[in-house]
Symmetry: C2
Subunit: 252 residues, 2 copies
């Protein structure tokens, strides 16, 4: 049986404040939990409806009834296993970004979009995403489930985005890319094998103070015939298209 | 005040069966409703908390209290206006696809993914999406809100995908593209200015019977270092990346 304090702990991890306080997040389902174990991510507790000898050596192992797991799960269809996973700690060393392509997110609100961007970053070998403090939290249960193991292979840094970019602009041969309607077509622009690609909020785009720091304005050309109302791409799709073009030009 | 029968009608339009029966779908919010009007989409009824002289000439106009609109809205934050819009009728003439790039969807389940794909199709000037009958319905209120006006500028056909593709394979110089792990890199493949790009179900990919009809197997190269668990792209992102590469090679 699950103790009241454990149920309370799991429930609290839906809230960013408590995730930070306990330095824990929730991962659900065998596939994800196994991926995390394979990646050597430290797991604090495993709660499961089955007993698994191998998993029981990895973390404190708590067996419970399906109905109990059902109550604490954040998923529509309850998994047979839930893990309480330690939030990895890492620092951003700005200079480390100079030799690679990274993504900067300015106020991305939707957990689904953030999850999609983490997955595509992992796909294309992007190692770092720098997020403004008002972005969705990457350890939100929805983001964790959407990214699967990718979340453990991409470092997501929450920083003062303005001052991080300001630091980066001090270096020559390093561009801060931003997407704007009137920017140069990504197909016609020379994209470098290093740089920071800034993607803006779903509704408002890149904020003014960040826009002032952009050194290269690019755009994904539209062929929609100029009907303004329908002219927008999902931010995850736009990020994927631009990163793909970076990769094509520099790595393919 | 809203009549009981009108409330019942609006509620029923959450269900595909009733949308098809009434040939109506729901659009919410000033921006979307105005976009539809600009695009000359026939609107049957407008329900709003305000009286708008101009809109009142466009369709049967019903004024109501905010609390009433609140009850029938499908959105978290209620809009001030809801329109009952006629589902456009169009037929797919297979031969019309021969000169252009179109998208084929094989069992896309998530309304959000479908909405994202409709938006990017509109962005890149793709005119037709052919969907297998088991795809999410594009007039689902969630998809309608996600696509905004784009839905009215891209024709989404629900067909027997297998027989539509079989018809298309009879023509020479027309490729059926499908994405597979071991396919040729999109960056290295010659992509034509016509063809049908098949995207598969979120979990299962392209079904066997459709896979048998693919004439060109392509892939988005991964740079994730081969960690299988985390290796997948959201289907909307993957579609965007591939269509962008088609456009770059043929239209830019």
């Amino acid at each position: 049986m699950l103790s009241k304090s454990l149920i309370k702990l799991v429930n609290s991890l839906d809230n960013k404040k408590f995730r930070l306080q306990h330095k824990l997040f929730i991962a659900e389902g065998f596939k994800l939990v196994n991926d995390l174990i394979r990646l050597n991510v430290p797991i604090k507790k495993i709660i499961s409806t089955n007993f698994d000898e191998k998993l029981s050596h990895i973390a404190e192992y708590i067996q419970c009834k399906a109905s109990e797991l059902d109550k604490i799960s954040f998923l529509k269809t309850s998994p047979e296993i839930i893990a309480l996973v330690e939030i990895p700690e890492y620092e951003l060393v700005t200079k480390d970004l100079l030799k690679k392509i990274s993504i900067g997110l300015d106020g991305i609100q939707d957990p689904g979009n953030l999850g999609t961007i983490v997955r595509l970053a992992n796909w294309f070998g992007i190692q770092d995403i720098v997020c403004s403090q008002d972005c969705a939290d990457v350890y939100n249960p929805k983001v964790v489930q959407a990214t699967m193991g990718a979340l453990m292979r991409v470092k997501v840094h929450y920083v003062d985005l303005q001052s991080t970019i300001t630091d980066l602009t001090k270096f020559t041969d390093f561009q801060i890319y931003g997407t704007f309607m009137e920017g140069n077509s990504i197909y016609e622009s020379k994209l470098d094998n290093n740089g920071l690609l800034i993607m803006g909020n779903e509704g408002k785009g890149i904020s003014e103070k960040i826009e002032a720091l952009i050194t290269k304005r690019i755009s994904i050309p539209s062929f929609s015939g100029g009907f303004a109302g329908a002219e927008s791409l999902n931010v995850g799709v736009a990020t994927g298209i631009i990163i793909s073009e970076f990769i094509r030009q520099t790595k393919k």
